[in-house]
Amino acid sequence: MTYWFRQHRYALAAALVHLRRSPGGFLFNILVVAIALALPFLGVTLLDNVRPMSESLSVDPEISVFLKQDTPREQAEGLAVLLRQTVKDKQARIIFTPREKAFDNLKDKNGLADVLATLGDNPLPDSYVLKLDAFRNAQAGGDVDALAEQIRQLPGVDTVQVDSAWVKRLAALLNILRLALLLLAATLGTVVVAVIFNTIRLQVMTQREEILVSKLIGATDSFIHRPFYYTGALLGLCAGALALGAVTLALRPLNTAIAEFAKLYASEFQLAPLPTLAVAGLLALSAGLGLIGARLSVKRHTARLN
């Protein structure tokens, strides 16, 4: 363990010594890698903020059926049988809400008792809510639309409203965005690996004599490669930290713009920085990309020195 620790301490020290010799080049490389990382990190931050919102919304389709005002109560209640027949083999819960109950709910929920009292008569119709099983694809979504059309033809039905379809569309959109982000991250991750690969290649060339002498005095490949691995990982780590810092700073102007938009929907939605665990994960990923680039480069270029 002491031997292992000593070897790694030596490698880290050697990496830092070499970085200190050309700080300008190192900082420039950090900047380049950070720019490549910043975009996917911003995407991750946006998705991380939007995801809880979309997940909290129901994606189970609901069909609200509003009956005509003059529909007798018996006919309204009897409509449940017709609805059940229309739904057929689909799993659905059918909930009848009498107009009186709907009126009471409205008063309780929205604190509009005074306003509603001025209306005199209850303006709300009897209604049904059909809660269907979640649909997972566009075909199933189409089925729900067809079902709504059939219900619209039933006697006494005034309006049919398919709720939560927009939520499903949002979820689908988020899935597309997630996939796009993944592709972007993969592309820019490759760019990061390539930049670090080239940085380490140049460093191997610069330290050519040191590598050759080390080989001649009995250094193992691991001993020779290790400082380059640390350099790559440090480069990735610093660039990752810089990219995350830039994204956090970018949230301020974004939040200012979002606040105005959200106000239109009576929302206080704001983009928050990523949680600590996610930050740690992204930093580890950045360091990992640096390590991969360094590993590929060192193996290839030190082998050529042989």
Binding site: Y3, R6, Q7, Y10, R21, E209, E210, L212, V213, S214, K215, L216, I217, G218, A219, T220, D221, F223
Partner: protein, 218 residues
């Protein structure tokens, strides 16, 4: 300790560096390799350090057959060899002390222990007071003695010196030779390639190479 058995080395069909070379260097011997440029001295030295593989025959070093040694075992073989080159190959971006410490750090020695032994090695070659200097601030002879210190700091069983005095004046060459003889006197096997007549005249054993073949052993 070092044994060549019918060793040949062909770089291509028409370039042959060694041809059926056989000899033995016993433990504790001081042996010189002599011969003109292109005689195969450097190739022979490189084979002992596993920098080259023989095309035919066997090279046995410390009981290990170099022609069959696995790449991962090469560093451990070299830790028992002290290599000295005509061009000293000191790292100019670090001090003399750091250069001499390197073979110990490579083996995982503690920094304090490596420093202590490196200073002792520098003392042995008479450069204890130049530990903090940069290699380029030293004369050619001093640089060569630093490379000797680097070669012996790991207490190797064999020292291989390839033309160690080639670029030195007589006084510096004598100091280098004295240093090598001092290590040989405590049991370190030394194989030195040279075409320095003065050195060869003083040698107990000389292997003469010519056109890749052993011409004379005296």
């Amino acid at each position: 300790m070092i044994e060549f058995r019918n060793v040949s080395k062909h770089y291509s069909s028409d370039v042959t560096a060694l041809r059926d070379v056989s000899f033995t260097v016993n433990k504790g011997e001081l042996v010189f390799l002599a011969g003109p440029s292109g005689a195969g001295k450097s190739t022979l030295m490189k084979m002992i350090a596993a920098m080259e593989r023989p095309s035919a025959g066997q090279v046995i070093v410390n009981g290990q057959d170099i022609s069959r040694i696995k790449p991962v075992a090469v560093p451990f073989l070299r830790r028992n060899l002290g290599l000295i080159f005509q061009q000293q190959r000191l790292l100019t971006d670090r001090t003399v002390l750091a250069n001499v410490m390197l073979p110990l750090l490579v083996t995982g020695a503690a920094h304090s222990q490596a420093e202590q032994r490196a200073r002792a090695a520098l003392d042995k070659v008479g450069l204890g007071d130049r530990a903090g200097a940069q290699p380029l601030a030293l004369s050619g002879g001093e640089q060569q003695r630093v490379s000797i210190a680097r070669a012996i700091v790991n207490r190797p069983q064999v020292i291989l010196a390839d033309e160690p005095t080639a670029n030195l004046d007589r006084a510096s060459a004598n100091k280098v030779l004295d240093a090598l003889k001092a290590f040989n006197s405590v049991g370190v096997t030394c194989l030195i390639s040279s075409h320095d007549e003065v050195m060869l005249d003083a040698a107990a054993r000389v292997i003469h190479l010519n056109q890749g073949q052993v011409e004379v052993q005296s």
